[in-house]
Subunit: 193 residues, 2 copies
DNA sequence: GTCTATAAATCGATAGAC
DNA sequence: GTCTATCGATTTATAGAC
């Protein structure tokens, strides 16, 4: 007789953290909420992660790895240079569709906002997200903008940031579509220039 | 003999709130920090504002009024339709230059992030900031994009959001310059279309 | 590893005197 | 209006048994 295996406590905690912290708010979520959602006791959390921040850091690391791999796939699926640069918006769409409910906006920017003096592992993973974004976009912008790749990459970074913040504002209604259009306009400016 | 008047307690509290909450973090700042910075006692804060949230709400209202008036001036100073639409970036530059230290990024988006379920007066002032942004930009985009003003306005909203988030990320180095360039590219796309 | 119970710390808010 | 002192609630983290 096959039984559906319940994931181990560590996994349940990470899933609960990923689901709750970035939708209800990091500081707004007490440890008790995570424990109840994960159906795990206090001692287990502290044995596995040492602290709420330790759990947050690990959840962010997994999130970054997941985001990176989805973005990878979207770049590979894209047909040309422009589509590869704009694939970050496809990835955002896929990433958010994958999680129900999706984060309120961006887990990394939310962490930067809620933990202003984050150092150590939390600061590191937030910085790694920004570095991934910058490095990849610069690389992808190169065939389109040549020597001005850095500028075009920054344009797309801003369009991407703006899309995320649009979720937070609740406007425009379809942030990803708006972001894609804006990024396309940026590419156009380098094409004609 | 002329004496430099110390502002009243209420003003000192509002100044301290404006200076500290949006740079060190809203939830990360204990009430005690505000009291020490304002050189005011506990009882005074609660007599004047009722709660930490009450003080936050009033600080946000003043901030919004100030932002609105600076933006007004920048629109008036602008020479043509495109400059009036892009004046939001001049305003951002002036607004941040006026406050030392400036907020880490945006007081309203930070509030939306840190107080996810904000209702009442705090939710209202955050919504008012978004509404001001949308309404004004739509109005200013009209002479440039006609029937497609809403789209162009959304482009500029995203570029503006992206600029603010860039302060949070610490990249690009000059977010306002990058945002202005991106918004200009968006305008260009409507010009040629 | 997991549980219950509780410690330890933080923080928002109030009381009562002046 | 302002002060000092303190309450009460919340929340993070630990102790000790199983």
């Amino acid at each position: 007789m096959t039984t559906v295996q319940r994931p181990p406590a560590r996994t349940r905690l990470l899933q609960a953290a990923d689901r709750v912290l970035f939708t209800n708010g990091i500081r707004a979520t007490p440890v008790d909420d995570l424990l109840r959602q994960a159906e795990v006791s206090t001692a287990t959390l502290y044995a596995q992660f040492g602290s709420k921040d330790g759990l947050l850091a690990e959840a962010l690391r997994l999130r970054l790895a997941d985001w990176r791999s989805i973005w990878d796939e979207c770049i590979i699926s894209a047909g040309d240079d422009q589509a590869r640069l704009l694939a970050v918006f496809d990835a955002l769409e896929a990433y958010r569709g994958q999680r129900l409910p999706p984060a309120r906006w961006c887990a990394f920017l939310a962490t930067a906002t809620e933990l202003p003096n984050a150092q150590g592992e939390i600061g590191d993973v937030v910085a790694a997200d920004t570095a991934l974004l910058n490095d990849r976009l610069r690389h992808l912008a190169s065939p389109l903008a040549g020597a001005r790749a850095a500028e075009l990459a920054d344009d797309v970074v801003l369009a991407y940031n703006g899309t995320l913040a649009a979720f937070l504002r609740g406007h425009p209604a379809d942030p990803i579509e708006a972001g894609r259009r804006l990024a396309r306009a940026a590419v156009g400016a380098y094409r004609t220039a």
